[in-house]
């Protein structure tokens, strides 16, 4: 890197290098054609400058092979760009199955992050180096966007649903994260740091930071407190055991995967999808549970058996 005047951010994730390579390719194509057009214009404008006021131009103005050539070359190039960019995008969109999940809630104008062990952070995210981390994100108010330039990842954080990104940090250090979607007065203050630590230091930090129980434990408590147990623990409602990530057969014959967004919807809008064999008797919990509590309940359901390999909706 060019010190003092960098041309790219730190390459600190497994995704960054691949994105940069594609970026260099695009830059090379861009520079080549910019130079080609600039030099050609300059050369032609000087060579064929008007020398006499009544000078005439040669009216050569049609050449089909040329038209075909300069249609075909850009077409070929954009096909390469498309295939390269798309395959990389598909790969970068899929979190590895063994990812550690961290939950992110955006609100005007701060980031609230929570680890499965229950540790909460504000505008700061500690992660171990070399381990895939999946962020499951939602917003309490308007649309935000979680952007970590050094990792080359970004995704809108939308109220009313979960979105996710993943990364695997490759270098310890502190890296900026930004809110990249304009969200009101203090949008530009909605920033923070990712602290990438070596695994030993991370474990040390984590054990020092844990105060209460894990997210799943907090969810288990909510399960009692809000009376979920009275139906879901007695067979009146579908059981949570082994539910997460499994296909669920609905009363209308459709099948859905029990992912984060499905569980969220089933808590807030229970009659949207009815599990086959059950009736729509569950009341909505909209307005009674905070975003954090919903995530804790989902973490609890997840802890009761988990079909590995299934993913949340992208």
């Amino acid at each position: 890197m060019w010190h003092g005047f960098p041309l790219r951010p730190d390459q600190a994730s497994t995704i960054a290098r691949g994105v940069d390579h594609l970026y260099y390719f695009l830059t090379a194509v861009d520079l080549f054609f910019t130079a080609l057009i600039f030099l050609t214009i300059f050369y032609l404008a000087v060579k064929y400058r008007r020398r006499k006021a009544d000078e005439r131009a040669s009216q050569f103005s049609e050449h089909l092979p040329l038209e075909i050539l300069w249609t075909a070359i850009p077409m070929g190039l954009v096909v390469v760009m498309y295939l390269w960019g798309s395959s990389l995008f598909i790969r970068n969109s899929r979190p590895p199955t063994a990812s550690t999940e961290v939950f992110v809630i955006g609100k005007q104008w701060m980031w609230h992050l929570q680890h499965p062990e229950g540790v909460r952070e504000i505008n700061e995210l500690h992660v171990p180096v070399g381990r895939p981390i999946k962020l499951t994100m939602t917003s309490e108010d308007v649309i935000h966007d979680f952007f970590i330039p050094a990792f080359r990842v970004k995704k809108d954080v939308v109220p009313g649903r979960y979105s996710s990104i993943w990364f695997e940090a490759t270098k310890t250090g502190r890296y900026h994260f930004f809110c990249a979607q304009y969200c009101g007065a203090y949008h530009s203050h909605m920033t923070g740091w990712v602290d990438v630590m070596d695994p030993v230091a991370y474990q040390h930090w984590l054990s020092g930071a844990i105060k209460g129980g894990s997210m799943a434990a907090a969810g288990a408590q909510l399960y009692q407190q809000f009376g979920c147990i009275t139906c879901h623990g007695t067979g009146k409602g579908p059981s949570y055991a082994g539910l997460y990530g499994k296909p669920v057969l609905l009363s209308d014959g459709q099948t859905v995967i029990a992912d984060d967004n499905y569980l969220r919807e089933s808590i807030l809008d229970p009659s949207a999808k009815i599990v086959k064999g059950y009736t729509a008797i569950m009341p909505t919990f909209r307005g009674q549970l905070t975003e954090e509590q919903i995530l804790q309940l989902i973490a609890y359901i997840k802890s009761l058996g988990n079909a590995e390999g299934s993913l949340g909706k992208p």
């Binding site: 594609l22 131009a57 990249a180």
Partner: protein, 548 residues
């Protein structure tokens, strides 16, 4: 403009009746149905809006000299970029070439007396001004901070600023755009002079025609979308806000369904102007006429199918991303075809470097850079990183300022002698073109680098490592600002003191150059009959004819 008794003895301008001196007084302008006078009404109005929007940009660039914000509070900064965006997009760029040059030239280029619906044309200006005044009211009464994109649920449920008057102002101005488009489509279909077939039309008309189609088809969607924003904001009907059962991403689909084609409303007319300038100042037929003409139509059609590339990180599915990425690459092809054909037009031409030509050559260079960096944004994996950063800001300013505004200024300089009957000082005009080119690149090139480094857009404060590039950009903006002021001075000066131009100072082809400068109200003394194709400049390879 109403000073008739100027003492220029040799001037035939004052002794002859033309559209400028036919009648005097405020009423004769505010109630005119002459397309040329309406063009001037627009010219004055959008110049006013341009300098308001520009002032907002100057304040933004001043603020960004310091990482902590040198000038204003974040809330004020948000109002500045909102005002800059709304005014520049809806009240300068969209009406710029169609409503000023299009109004003046469409009837003249096809040999008609006026547009098809002259009174509707005047109504369009009043509708436009009503919308503009509503937005100005929003600005003066405290401002609005939605961003020009009005994203929900921020705009509908979380802001206490003057969102309603700004949104309704844009809503109202949209009707002006629809009516102008409608007027041009009918005019081009029905009022062409005898012999003016579709493929004899100057390419400016092809691009205005393609633009008009987008205006007619796209703008109603924007109107509906802003109407829904107003309904949700006033009556709390759940359309976009998930807290009341709406879908915030639906707004983005609707908004970009208009606002992406709107980019082509801004750039297509400029491309048309460039085709006129390149041919006139190389005394040459355009290279590949039909390829340039059909690429305008192709751009207009494809432009309706690419809106999803604004939403690659919005939570749209991976598959939707793949489709919109492919379609976005497709729109690059007709744009590339245009650039290659313009460049090839210079080959074996007789190239002069008058001010309009400098703008045209500047356009090709800057549009090439803007278009090529668009490929980065169509490329999914790279867009994820640069989306919502300064890279995007740099890209669309290369298209809209480097492209659309350069084309507009080139066109104004080219047809100014026709519009006013007078010449401006060419040295100053070339100097201004150079200052604008240099200032522009210094302002916006550093923003590409800022974007890849990760600086998000719409940030009032930023981490200190981004300061050097921000200071460079602000320095460039001050040069660019001066560049824009110079033409304002000499063009106004030339209206009174410029040398008399004569009907065709550039020796250009096209029906508008056969009419006197300034043209009479009815444009042509007799209806012209068209026998030759567009750009029929004399051929060096053919034996000299009588007209040589």
């Amino acid at each position: 403009m109403s000073t008739a008794t100027v003492e220029v003895p040799q001037a035939p301008i004052e002794s002859r009746v033309h559209y400028l001196n036919k009648s005097y007084g405020v009423k004769s302008w505010l109630l005119t149905t002459d397309h040329k006078r309406i063009a001037l009404l627009y010219l004055v109005s959008i110049t006013f809006f341009f300098f308001i929007g520009g002032a907002a940009a100057v304040l933004m660039r001043l603020n960004l000299i310091e990482p902590t914000g040198a000038l204003v509070e974040p809330a004020t900064y948000n109002k500045l970029f909102t005002m800059h965006g709304i005014i520049m997009v809806f009240f300068f760029l969209i009406p710029s070439i169609p409503a000023v040059l299009g109004n003046f030239l469409v009837p003249m280029m096809i040999g008609a007396r006026d547009v098809a619906f002259p009174r509707l044309n005047l109504l369009s200006w009043y509708v436009f001004m009503t919308g503009g005044l509503m937005v100005l009211y929003a600005v003066l009464s405290g401002g609005v901070d939605t961003g020009w994109t009005f994203y929900t649920p921020l705009s509908t449920a979380y802001l206490n600023t003057h969102v309603m008057s700004a949104a309704l102002g844009v809503f109202v101005a949209g009707f002006s755009s629809i009516l102008t488009g409608l007027n041009f489509v009918v005019t081009i279909h029905k009022m062409r002079a005898p012999g003016m077939t579709w493929f004899k039309m100057p390419l400016f008309l092809w691009s205005i025609y393609a633009t008009s189609i987008i205006q007619i088809l796209g703008t109603p969607v924007l109107a509906i979308t802003l109407g829904l924003v107003a309904i949700e904001r006033s009556f709390h009907v759940g359309i976009f806000d998930p807290a009341v059962g709406g879908d915030p991403v639906l707004f983005q689909h609707l908004f970009w369904f208009y606002s992406h084609p709107a980019v082509y409303i801004m750039i297509l007319p400029s491309m048309g102007v460039i085709s006129e300038l390149i041919t006139a100042f190389s005394k040459k037929r355009i290279f590949g006429y039909s390829f340039v003409a059909f690429s305008s139509v192709a751009i207009a059609v494809i432009s309706f199918l690419v809106w999803g590339h604004h939403m690659f990180v919005s939570g749209q599915s991976v598959y939707a991303g793949l489709v919109f990425s492919a379609l976005s690459f497709a729109v690059a092809i007709p744009s590339a075809i245009k650039v290659f054909n313009w460049t090839a037009t210079l080959y074996k031409g007789s190239v002069s470097y008058d001010a309009p030509m400098l703008y045209a050559l500047g356009f090709i260079g800057l549009f090439t850079m803007g278009g090529l960096t668009g490929l980065f944004l169509a490329t999914l994996a790279v867009d994820v990183h640069v989306h919502d950063t300064y890279f995007v800001i740099a890209h669309f300013h290369y298209i809209m300022v480097g492209g659309a505004v350069m084309g507009y200024l080139g066109g104004i300089h080219f047809w100014w002698p026709k519009i006013t009957g007078r010449l401006y000082p060419d040295g100053w005009a070339r100097f201004a073109a150079l200052v604008i080119f240099v200032g522009f690149n210094l302002t916006f090139f550093p923003q590409y680098m800022l974007g890849y480094l990760g600086m998000p857009r719409r940030y009032a404060v930023y981490p200190p490592e981004f300061q050097v590039l921000n200071v460079m950009s602000s320095a460039g903006a001050s040069i660019l600002g001066i560049g824009y002021l110079i033409p304002l001075v000499y063009l106004i000066w030339s209206m009174r003191y410029g040398p008399v131009a004569g009907p065709n100072p550039w020796g250009a082809k096209g029906l508008e150059w056969e009419a006197p400068s300034p043209p009479p109200t009815e444009n042509f003394e007799e209806p012209p009959v068209v026998t030759e194709e567009a750009y029929a400049y004399p051929d060096a390879d053919a034996p000299a004819s009588a007209e040589g």
